[in-house]
């Protein structure tokens, strides 16, 4: 890693450094009209300077908040830095949130200025304008469709840049003075947590915290300005922000913005990132697509794929970890690399990936092993918005599928008797914005952050997370019930998109299943099974049988685990609609809101435990434009085969 001079304690100072030290190196690339356009660090800094001066002309001052709503675009990142130049705070918001969800952060932070990517986002802001009187300025990056909007708050970003450039010419020293006033202890950014429970909270992070963690991880992985990252997840999510803002600022590497959210796959192949992050859901989606395409391939290719994936599963991980492997297996793996793994990595756009992380949710062991076995250095990390991400990272050569690794340099960890993980780190958040009660609950007097995650240290000192402390429960006979663990096991099957497990305080475990429309639809087509749509497909007996087979495999697996043998799944149903964040069933980062689902579909839960075979259900759905509609269906319930713990052990 190229050394960064000391004393650069804020992001704007780091930017000025890169604009000097690597002026002509790429900082951001964006695919526009089919061609990758490059912003050098020099250009990036110029853009930031103009934006900052423009904002200052419009009354943006130290301590003000700038809301950023949009996909990964160079302008969005430039504006983040522009706000920070003036001592302001950037507040990225989820671009796929509905208008009502944006009102809270804007009111909470008293946001005065906002940058919206396009008409869609502007419309949302205008919709909530009456509830958000503080919002005085809305800038937009993409003017399309906005020509006739007459609201006085609106302004084209290009115009803001022009105003800024003019101001900069008039008083070139102003901005440098403002940047110099900044200190590491200033607040840099605020991220609203998706709020698995209750209202969202604004997590306040300082420059020092973000820079400290970004540096620690960059040093550990040896990142340099030669690295390339694809920025494809929402900028409002701390993970994306670390990888596409904080870390490029401490190392000088280049981030690439895809053309649109639909082109990510092909853009990734074109760019060939060297440093990659994906939550398990994305990795799972990729694997599902690969599996589907393989099933459609010719028999020779299928046989080759099966054979060499077996080889990879056996020795791939060991080869990646540098552990000893027999000469013949090595040769086989080399051949497999030529015929299968190499082309597969290429299709996935991962040919050049040196370090890849996954986090956010526990990852299924098979999924994890798949990527590692084909030679992608996928590792797990642990962290959250409150910790500036990096708390634990698996070091190269010490990668396990069921842990998240030891603490990163600078982090202290301990567990409470209830198995809750506590963290003390220079990367910890300052507070929850205007929410001292929540801050006091999360961060104790000694500076320990209470994560709410349950787990323990394994024999090698790696942290193993099993579930949320509040979700870990017990069946009525007292055996351990870790719902997320079960759900993750189910979700590894390509046919199952989401699962929701119930069982706390009950005599047995039952689950809701969401089928994966793409995978099951494809499966049905190949069997000439006609279906009208999602609801119809989800209720087919054939699909129930398919799901039952998946559940039985999970049960067989569970029966071999002494702790979990009793939490085998007894009954299940396939939901008639996809769980959706717009209906409040998933969080914006696609985590299942189990409690909410349990209440909303109380009738279904009762039917699962009441022994009924079919139940009628009506549910409200919310469309993307905010309107609502009703959907009703008859949902069938089936029993799943369970295995006696002892017999299974004998069979194995």
């Amino acid at each position: 890693m190229a050394e960064i001079p000391a004393g650069l304690d804020t992001f704007p100072k780091l930017l000025l450094h890169h604009a000097r030290a690597r002026a002509e190196r790429p900082a951001i690339r964006e695919k526009d009209l089919g061609i990758w356009q490059t912003w050098t660090w020099q250009r990036f800094a110029d853009e930031v300077r103009s934006l900052a001066c423009g904002l200052a002309e419009h009354g943006f001052k130290r301590g003000d908040h700038l809301a950023l709503i949009g996909d990964n675009r160079p302008r969005i990142y430039a504006a983040m830095c522009a706000a920070q130049c003036l001592g302001g705070i950037s507040v990225p918001l989820y671009q796929d949130a509905v208008a009502a969800e944006m009102a809270f952060p804007i009111q909470n932070a008293g946001i005065t200025h906002a940058l919206a990517e396009d008409q869609e986002q502007v419309d949302k802001l205008l919709e909530i304008l009456p509830q958000c009187p503080s919002l005085a300025r809305i800038y937009f990056d993409e003017p399309r469709g906005l020509r006739h909007y007459a609201q006085p708050q609106l302004m084209d970003c290009d115009k803001l840049l022009a105003i800024g450039a003019e101001a900069l010419e008039r008083d070139p020293a102003f901005l440098d003075v403002e940047i110099a006033k900044g200190a590491g202890s200033d607040t840099a950014a605020m991220f609203f947590t998706s709020g698995t429970t209750g209202v969202p909270k604004g997590v306040v992070l300082t420059h020092a915290a973000l820079i400290n963690r970004a540096k620690a991880a960059a040093q550990m992985e040896g990142l340099s300005d030669e690295d390339v990252v694809l920025a494809y997840l929402p900028p409002a999510w701390i993970g994306q922000n670390i990888f596409s803002y904080a870390q490029p600022f401490v190392t000088g590497y280049c981030i690439c913005c895809p053309e649109s959210s639909e082109t990510v796959m092909s853009d990734m192949r074109e760019i060939g990132p060297t440093y990659y992050f994906a939550p398990p859901a994305v990795l799972e989606g990729l694997l599902t697509r690969v599996s589907i395409r393989m099933e459609d391939a010719g028999s020779l290719k299928r046989a080759m794929y099966r054979y060499f994936m077996d080889v990879a599963r056996r020795v791939g991980g060991a080869i990646l970890d540098g552990r000893p492997v027999g000469a013949f297996d090595r040769l086989l793996y080399r051949l497999g690399d030529l015929l299968v793994y190499g082309p597969l990595r290429n299709v996935l756009g991962m040919s050049r990936v040196r370090v890849a992380y996954t986090a956010g949710e526990a990852i299924g062991p098979d999924l994890f092993v798949f990527y590692r076995s084909i030679g992608i250095n996928l590792k797990q990390l642990y962290g959250s918005t409150e910790t500036s991400v990096f708390v634990c990272i698996q070091p190269d050569g010490q990668v396990k599928s069921d842990t998240v690794g030891p603490a990163v340099a600078g982090v202290e960890l301990k567990f409470t008797p209830q198995r809750e993980l506590l963290i003390r780190s220079p990367g910890l958040f300052k507070e929850y914005y205007r929410n001292p009660e929540a801050t006091a609950l999360a961060k104790d007097a000694e500076g320990w952050y209470h994560t709410g995650d349950a787990g323990y240290f394994d024999a090698d000192g790696h942290v193993k997370i099993i579930d949320r402390v509040k979700d870990v429960g017990a069946l009525s006979d007292g055996t351990l019930f870790a719902p997320k663990y079960l759900e993750n096991k189910l979700k590894f099957f390509p046919f199952i998109k989401e699962a929701v497990a119930f069982g706390n305080g009950r005599d047995r475990v039952c689950v809701f299943i969401n089928i994966d429309m793409e995978a099951v639809g494809n499966w049905a087509e190949r069997r000439n099974l006609p279906y009208a749509g999602y609801v119809d497909l989800a209720s087919r007996d054939e699909v129930y049988t398919l799901v039952a087979e998946c559940i039985e495999k999970v049960n067989l697996d569970l029966s071999q685990d002494r702790e979990l043998a009793n939490s085998q799944i007894h009954r299940f149903l396939v939901l008639h609609k996809e769980l959706d964040a717009d209906d409040g069933e998933l969080t914006r980062s696609r985590k299942v809101r189990r409690g909410h689902i349990g209440e909303k579909y109380g009738a279904l839960v009762d039917a699962l435990y009441g022994g009924r075979q079919v139940v009628h259900v009506e549910a409200q759905v919310r469309y993307e434009d905010g309107r609502t509609g009703m959907i009703s269906a008859d949902v069938k319930i089936r029993d799943a085969k369970t295995f006696p713990a002892a017999a299974a052990r004998k069979a194995a």
């Binding site: 009209l33 089919g34 020509r147 006739h148 649109s260 082109t263 469309y623 993307e624």
Partner: protein
């Protein structure tokens, strides 16, 4: 809407007393209406009302037995499809007429055909002026791809795309001609609600951004009423209504044609 009304200009296209029959079947009977520059003009009516026939007359595919068409001040008895296209009228098709085996990009590039100046040989060899020209055309096409948000499908075969997207490609190809008047034949047919909303937005954006005059046929009343400046209503080949959406909606003959009337 008010904003757009201000931009509406002079009459650009006028159909006067046009009649068309196929043997004994009378498709159109003395239909007259006009289209003003920059407006969104809809032709609606129940099935078999003569909407597509009307479009085909304007487009020069059908030749009416009676009546005239005035376009840009010139009077025609019937139109020649090639000349119509060259004079700035392009269209999309109800049942799509795309090259299914070609990519999205190539289909849209095909829409630039009339604008290509270099000869076929140079184009085939992609040398000198032909290459420069192709780059220019490609840029126009890329802007359209960006405009219609089909970047992800650029290199995909059109036949493999879902119907809603094929409709969008069809629109893209029509736009590639940079038309002055765009004829849309049931642009929303067979789409779900979300696709319809997207298509409405694209049509309004095209109208707004490029000032393209739009004549569209639709049988979905709701959609048409939302986006059109003026509406013509046909029933059994005759015009039974003409005016703003509100005027048309209030007219008894239109209500009868759509809801049926007890005899």
């Amino acid at each position: 809407m008010g904003e757009q009304a201000r931009r509406v200009g002079e009459v650009i296209l006028a159909v006067e007393r046009v009649s068309l029959s196929f043997g004994g079947v009378r498709a159109l009977f003395e239909v007259s209406f006009d289209v003003r520059e920059h407006e969104v003009r809809a032709i609606i009516g129940p099935n078999g009302a003569g909407k597509s026939s009307m479009l085909n007359v304007i487009n020069g595919v059908y030749h009416p037995q009676q009546g005239t068409i005035r376009y840009l001040g010139r009077e025609y008895h019937d139109m020649d499809p090639h000349a119509v296209a060259a004079s700035g009228i392009s269209r999309t098709f109800q049942n799509l007429a795309l090259f299914k085996g070609m990519t999205v990009l190539d289909n849209i590039m095909a829409g630039r055909n009339l604008k290509m100046r270099t000869n076929l040989l140079l184009q085939a060899l992609r040398i000198g002026p032909a290459l420069r020209e192709e780059i220019e055309h490609r840029e126009v096409v890329e802007r359209i791809i960006d405009f219609l948000e089909i970047q992800a499908y650029r290199k995909m075969q059109v036949g493999r795309l879902p119907y809603g997207l094929q409709k969008r490609v069809d629109l893209a190809r029509a736009l590639a001609m940079e038309p002055r008047v765009l004829l849309l034949d049931e642009p929303m047919a067979g789409m779900n609600m979300e696709e319809k909303q997207d298509m409405c937005r694209f049509i309004l954006d095209v109208n707004d951004q490029f000032g393209t005059t739009i004549v569209l046929i639709e049988h979905d009343m709701g959609v048409v009423m939302d986006i059109s400046d003026r509406v013509v209503v046909l029933d059994y080949g005759k015009k039974i209504g003409d005016g703003t959406p509100d005027e048309v909606r209030a007219k008894q003959a239109v209500i009868d044609a759509y809801l049926g009337v007890s005899h």
